[in-house]
């Protein structure tokens, strides 16, 4: 009678890949989070200027997206990178949903005591969703490719 002892350590190592501390990746790891932070900071500033009291933008989301982008850069070409990508797409989708732009496709309506502002951006939202679909497809394919590599290694 033989007992199979699963080699969990190597499986986990193959799935998550090895973090590569390549100096070439440092700019990439900094630029994307910086873009997220700049975008959300200025968006927050804009919203607070024209719609005081509105809590449309949450800067914590920018921090989470930045952390995911850094994770994706560090664990490049591994399963964890694709999962981080999928998580960022899901978060962005959730942000669009929470902001109310998906309920009435591309229409955000915010109201303060004095003014009601309606922002319509259907065409822009279609492009944003197209990019999100592209990203979802890309990350799904990355997961499949990574799974194939893992299986072939197992065989």
């Amino acid at each position: 009678m033989t007992h199979k002892i699963p080699d969990l350590t190597s499986k986990i190592a193959r799935a998550f890949g090895t973090p590569r501390l390549d100096l070439k990746r440092v700019p990439e790891a900094l630029i994307v989070p910086a873009c997220y932070m700049i975008l959300f900071y200025h968006l927050n500033l804009l919203v607070s200027t024209y719609l005081p009291g509105s809590n449309l933008i949450d800067l914590r989301l920018a921090l989470i997206l930045s952390a995911l982008a850094i994770t994706r850069t560090i664990f490049k070409e591994s399963l964890i990178s694709a999962l981080a990508g999928l998580a960022s797409v899901a978060l962005m989708f959730n942000f669009l949903y929470q902001a109310g732009s998906l309920n009435q496709f591309g229409i955000i309506r915010t109201q303060t005591s004095v003014v009601t502002v309606t922002l319509k951006f259907q065409s822009l939202l279609m492009i944003i969703l197209f990019v999100m679909i592209l990203k979802t497809l890309l990350y799904t394919l990355e997961i499949i490719e990574n799974s194939k590599v893992s299986q072939s290694v197992n065989l």
């Binding site: 890309l138 990355e142 490719e145």
Partner: protein, 284 residues
């Protein structure tokens, strides 16, 4: 799909994401550099059967994109929500890196002849809701913004506008004076021309005129009342009785006239003051 194709898809996705992010950052940066506001108070006037609203405003567009198709819609509603009057105003486009200072003059036409008088009565007696809705296209028409403000026009805001109209539409010209001697002493007969270009008739117009010398002493005074002043010009005269004490002891020299005016307009009572110098009278 091979790893190479996944990489190509990754490159395409990154490219599109960079372009989209750059476009969005440029929109947000541009929108932050747009400022607008009111320069003075809003004037609400009742003119020729319509409600005229004059809003002095400025828009500074220091962004990258033009603000296009700017339209402002006004609507007046009574306390029951019935639409009394409405107006649509188009401002066109405000180009990038430009400033636009203007008056938004909107005339609200009552929707029926019946509402014409009804609206006037309402504005005099009870508040009316003013709904202002602005819409514009931005960032190459990728964004459409609509802002809606609801404010209440009170009779006091209307009265404020009426006083501005009154002081602007009403003018006094003093003619050549002539000396008169009667039992009361020395008097001056001063012809007065009243010009009124407004629409609503002025009622119970009282003019109290004080003639002052260069040191500010009142050397004489007189007053008249005009029961009703319709748009146009009328001629009246004011008898100025000289102050006896001054007339006895020194030569009387008039330097300027201070005119205290009281009038009723559209059910509101107004008081204001005008100053006219003697030189202006002498030259006429």
């Amino acid at each position: 799909m091979s790893m190479k194709k996944v990489k190509i898809l990754g490159l395409v996705t990154t490219g599109v994401t960079i372009l989209l992010s750059a476009f969005m950052i440029s929109i947000i940066y541009s929108a932050q550099n747009v400022s607008f506001g009111l320069l003075e108070d809003v004037d609400v006037l009742w003119r020729e059967g319509n409600v005229a609203i004059s809003i002095p405003f400025y828009v500074k567009n220091r962004g990258f994109y033009d603000i296009e198709d700017v339209e402002i819609f006004f609507q007046l509603r009574d306390s029951k929500g019935q639409i009394l009057a409405q107006s649509l105003n188009s401002l066109g486009a405000i180009r990038a890196d430009s400033e636009h200072v203007d008056y938004l003059n909107a005339t609200l036409n009552p929707l029926s002849l019946f509402l014409n008088g009804f609206l006037y009565e309402l504005l005099r007696n009870e508040p009316i809701e003013l709904k202002a809705k602005a819409s514009l296209n931005y960032a190459l028409s990728w964004l459409t913004l609509e802002a809606e403000v609801n404010t209440v026009l009170t009779p006091s805001s209307l009265a404020k506008g009426l006083l501005r109209s009154l002081t602007k539409d009403f003018s006094i010209n003093l003619g050549n004076p002539s000396l008169k001697f009667n039992d009361e002493g020395i008097a001056i007969n001063l012809p007065v021309s009243l010009n009124y270009t407004g629409w609503l008739p002025i009622e119970n117009l009282q003019l109290k005129l004080e003639a002052r010398n260069s040191t500010g002493f009142i050397v004489g005074s007189g007053e008249i009342t005009v029961e009703k002043l319709n748009p146009g010009q009328i001629q009246v005269s004011i008898i100025i009785i000289y102050n006896e004490e001054l007339a006895t002891f020194q030569f009387i020299h008039i330097d300027n006239f201070t005119i205290y005016l009281k009038a009723d307009l559209a059910g509101f009572a107004f008081e204001w003051i005008e100053e006219i110098s003697w030189n202006a009278v002498a030259q006429s």
